[in-house]
Amino acid sequence: MGTEILKTPAPTAEELLGRAVQDPRDLTRYLYYLRNVRAEGLSVAVAPLDAAINWSRASSIWPLTFGIACCAIEMMATGAAKYDLDRFGAGAFRPTPRQADLMIVAGTVTHKMAPRVRRLYDQMPEPKFVMAMGACTIGGGPYSRLGYHVVKGIDRFLPVDVCVPGCPPRPEALIDALMYLQRKIAADRPVTDRYLRPFFSKEKRR
């Protein structure tokens, strides 16, 4: 992530950690390390704030518990024993939109349901991401031609970040989509503009 530490690590800090910092590019270990050197009163420098914020956002995505139809079962399977979404930091399914930052729309959205989905999305705090899981949410799926009560794609009322095709998608596909979303988040610049100048007011952003 292009981070660089200015001061060479003190051996006492490594003892504190109980293991050596092998790879300075590994930010996870780095932050552990930084916490421990700070305890010793050493001065350190941290890498770009963009990278640090993106790293924390991407590795603790909290999805909203939001199963609508068939795909929800595959979403549950992804969170359960075999596929274990927790490995990617996204296993903490929140029952309330106020605590969630990823909405996995898993299942067919109907005309009766659409206002509720929109309302849940509006209740989520920024930054928020939407994953359209399954053919129905992408474009109506098997119900696109004859389903008079099915919304033909949730992009008609929600901004979608990632689409996961399949009917239903396999858990591997959902995990792949999640990693795609993590890359997408990592490419974001939360505190700098396109000339890499930091901005502090919302008006100047983009």
């Binding site: 067919t108 509720r116 009560h149």
Partner: protein, 387 residues
Amino acid sequence: MSEANVTETAPPASRRDSLRTEEMLLNMGPQHPSTHGVLRLVVRTDGEMVRESWPQIGFLHRCFEKIAESLPYAQALPYADRMDYLGSVNNGLAFCLGVEKLGAIEVSERAAHLRVIAAELNRIASHLIAFGTYALDLGAFTPFIYGFREREMAVSILEKLSGGRLLYHYPRIGGVANDLTPEIASDIRAFLVQMRKVWPEYNALLSDNQIFVKRTANVGVVTREQAIAWGFTGPCLRASGVRFDLRKDQPYSLYERFAFDVPIGEGTKGTTGDCWDRYWVRMVEILESCRIVEQALDGIPEGPVLTKVPRVLKLPKGEVYVPCENPRGELGFYIVSDGDPKALRIKSRGPSFCNLSIVNEICRDVLLADVVAILGSIDIVLGEVDR
């Protein structure tokens, strides 16, 4: 999305004696962690007590019946799978049986055996989800992980058999999609051994757990008369003490050849027909399904698996209703044909739809937390409630 209407503010201390309480309307759902999908429940509460509850459904109405009568029979079949997505083999089987009965299409013995194997494996997978999510509703997370561990085995067998992980489209009109291989057969046997091994573990984990029993026993009691009058079917009906199983009483697809017991609720932990009984019937059914799969696997004859069916299937003029035992109860398709390649009307009788209609009857004067226990024990699938 709860909209609480509290119109009354607390009165001043001098008027404490005449403290009035007011009933409150609460919304549960359609997005609610314990409603098994997009069910909305409007409950009238008096403090913690629920006086009335009205289920609001239709949030997943996917127009199955209109689509089914606009497409040829073979094309309507995958939509039947998507109704009850936890028991998709059972759904497809019910649809195929209806079409085959009206069209007098013969199914080979091998195909019928394979249908039984797939349907029972799917039933086990469905009951394991019911086990896991019911515990989840009541605040226990571990059984969910256990249930999904064994379910993955069943699902991977069905995947090898049919190609799909959740929606199999395995029974076809005239037979099944793919044949059994020796590898799959040995997988199934390994799964049965594993399932029987961990079944006592499940009981130690949940069934006999004191907290679980306290939450479910004597809660949401449905009497035998209520169950019949409100159209309860499946494990819910049997929990109320009615020994009725379509696999036994109106056998289809060679079920009459297999020996298995029909468990009924006996009020082991409380009253007959309470939530624990409904849960327990499902648990025992897992073992019974294992027995059926084993017998079907032992007695499977050689032969073709798919009868040749005309590309444009025209059923004769007439109508038929074929009920089938779904993991949740009686699933039937009422097919009316007027001789065209498309049906005139396909009406599905979904068990979850009928089982859910009793909620207002039994969620009266119970605690708010018990509503969750009752809903979970009925084990609804919204895809089939709304169709």
